[in-house]
């Protein structure tokens, strides 16, 4: 039973990353109509940012949790202003290709300087150790990751679905021209939205740094699983991405316990099954 709970916890943690990443993808897709292939690379940059802050600037984990998303988010906004905005009005596929190119550049540069092996990032002192829950031993840091990302996901959901700013955002997604006529600076909003989505990816990177090592390719394979999560969930709603992300992480964890051989493929197999039954995805609207 211990092993089952342990795998469930691993599943929840992976689910947190899936949720944060697919949430960022959904936010970006909503405003920019771009599937951000660079998302995995930006996640990796978040982790490296935390690593640099600690080893070069002596800035600890807690500040990194705040600073890394801002730094990477600004990098993202520069990308949006210099490149992505020129694709407005073109076919979706060009956005995919451009961000794929950006991902190759970013990952290539990091691989040149850091090779492909991992760099360690220590768990902050306050989150070391573990708790005995009676039925299992819970490492504090892992519990923290799950709770913290859940809070961030819900906060993002609240921001977009329940606040005035979110209402503008959603309106601009539906009809940018009209929103512009009301005197709202839509291009700036698009840039900020991209920054927000990228910031979420970077935050996931910082969270994952102490668990998985900091590696240049840490986002490259993860992003494909997240794409499968997105296809399953359908990106129709913000809440849909969050729930699908966590749920698939848990399912993956359970598979690791009951049938480890399939743990790498279960998300993809699920994707196939969902597509056969419901081509638009679980929460999705028609494309």
């Amino acid at each position: 039973m211990q092993a089952l709970y342990a795998q469930l916890l691993v599943g929840l943690i992976n689910g947190s990353f899936y949720a944060l990443l697919s949430l960022g993808l959904a936010v970006i897709f909503g405003m920019l109509n771009i599937i951000n292939f660079a998302h995995g690379a930006l996640y990796m940059m978040g982790a490296f940012c935390a690593y640099f802050l600690l080893n070069l600037g002596g800035i600890n984990y807690w500040w990194a949790l705040l600073l890394a998303p801002i730094i990477v988010g600004i990098f993202g906004m520069i990308l949006e202003r210099t490149m992505l905005q020129w694709l407005a009005g073109l076919d979706h596929l060009y956005g995919l290709l451009l961000t794929f190119g950006i991902a190759l550049i970013v990952q290539g540069v990091f691989q040149n300087y850091f090779g492909s092996s991992g760099l360690p990032y220590a768990i902050p002192d306050q989150l070391k150790g573990g708790m005995n829950l009676g039925f299992m031993f819970l490492p504090v840091y892992r519990g923290w990751v799950v709770v913290f990302s859940l809070v961030v996901c819900l906060a993002t959901w609240f921001l977009i679905e329940k606040t005035r700013l979110g209402a503008y955002l959603r309106a601009a997604t539906e009809n940018p021209t009209l929103v512009r006529a009301f005197g709202i600076n839509v291009p700036r909003m698009i840039t900020l939205t991209y920054g927000l989505g990228v910031g979420l990816a970077a935050l996931a990177g910082v969270l994952s740094a102490p668990i998985n090592q900091v590696r240049p390719l840490m986002g490259a394979d993860l992003i494909i699983v997240v794409f499968a999560v997105v296809v399953i969930g359908g990106m129709g709603s913000i809440m849909g991405s969050i729930i699908t992300g966590f749920a698939l992480g848990v399912i993956e964890g359970l598979t690791k316990y009951f049938y480890p051989e399939a743990s790498n493929t279960v998300v993809f197999v699920l994707m196939v099954l969902v597509l056969l039954v419901k081509p638009t995805g679980l929460t999705g609207r028609a494309a």
Partner: protein
């Protein structure tokens, strides 16, 4: 939303003549390679990738469908051909057929699943399916995991042509490439191809005209996947191995890059693109990981400033359809 490719120029008999002249020039140039100082293995490898890119282009350039997992067909055909040749001891012609049949079967299944969603969702699904296959091949016993299938025998094609001789192998690969290229050319210029183009331009309109667009897209997917498998089967004889590299998603990205550089939706573009990218990898190998950065930069530059690709720009300048 503007169309994916610039295809406003009507295909006139004049343009067909241009294309045929260019085809003959290309065939003659390629046929003369063994008499020049060019390394034949480099050209053979480029030809296999050119065929793969042409097959990929059939789907995106004429159907508007961006498959981001096209390496899975090449890789699957490679594994199956390799296994048939090495373990079953089949002659080359049957080995190639096994590979093509495997790619055909795979494209039936993956096409049925992926054609249900459009646009970027289609791309993500093909990518995810190819990653699924990657993990399966990583664990399946017959692929030998990380080692791949090595030392695949080349044998005698039809019992006559000794494929272990580089010149013989070169011409066999060249004939295979040209046959595949002509087949794709024929498909594009058939009534089927015209319907495909109309789906790319405006799918709702094609539906309203009474075409079952899903069936056309599915057929295009299967044709493209099967031809990509043919490229993979040929590549087995050149490389004499089949490995995980060929099914990894980064290979699918390279195929996209080749087609983009050459020109999406142009007939000769993927060939030029494949030669450019393979040559780059060959001659820039000393730069190590910087090659990835260079490839990424080419992606970015192409998308931002150079969307028609090399051949597309030339065709646009001369107002021809190439």
């Amino acid at each position: 939303m503007t169309a994916l490719t610039d295809d406003t120029l009507p295909v006139t008999p004049r343009a067909m003549r241009d294309e045929m002249i260019l085809f003959v020039v290309m065939a003659l140039l390629l046929a003369s390679v063994p008499f020049t100082g060019v390394y034949p293995f480099f050209v053979m490898q480029a030809l296999c990738f050119a065929l793969l890119a042409c097959a990929f282009n059939l789907l995106i350039g004429y159907g508007g469908l961006l498959s981001f997992g096209h390496a899975m067909f090449m890789g699957t055909a490679g594994y199956c051909s390799g296994h048939a040749l090495k373990v079953w001891g089949l002659p080359p012609e049957l080995g190639i057929l096994v590979g093509i049949a495997a790619a055909f079967g795979l494209s039936l299944i993956t096409g049925y699943i992926s054609i249900r969603r459009q646009g970027i969702y289609f791309s993500m699904i093909t990518l995810a399916l190819s990653q699924l296959l990657y993990f399966i091949y990583l664990q399946a016993p017959f692929t030998h995991g990380e080692d791949g299938i090595q030392g695949i025998p080349q044998g005698h094609l039809f019992g006559v042509f000794d494929l272990s001789k580089p010149t013989v192998l070169y011409y066999v690969v060249l004939v295979g490439f040209l046959a595949g290229f002509l087949l794709i050319y024929r498909i594009i210029n058939s009534p089927f191809g015209e319907v495909l183009k109309s789906i790319r331009e405006n799918e709702p309109r094609a539906i309203s005209l009474g075409y079952r667009t899903d069936q056309y897209k599915f057929l295009a997917f299967v044709l493209s996947g099967t031809l990509a498998g043919f490229a993979g089967a040929l590549k087995v004889f050149v490389a004499q191995n089949a490995s995980l590299t060929d099914v990894h998603w980064s290979m699918s990205g390279e195929v996209v890059l080749m087609t983009l550089v050459g020109g999406l939706g142009t007939i000769f573009g993927p060939v030029v693109g494949a030669f450019v990218i393979i040559a780059m990898q060959q001659y820039l190998a000393g730069f190590g990981q910087w090659v990835t950065v260079i490839q990424g930069s080419i992606f970015v530059i192409c998308v931002l400033t150079f969307r028609r690709g090399v051949i597309g720009e030339i065709a646009h300048y001369f107002r021809r359809s190439l």
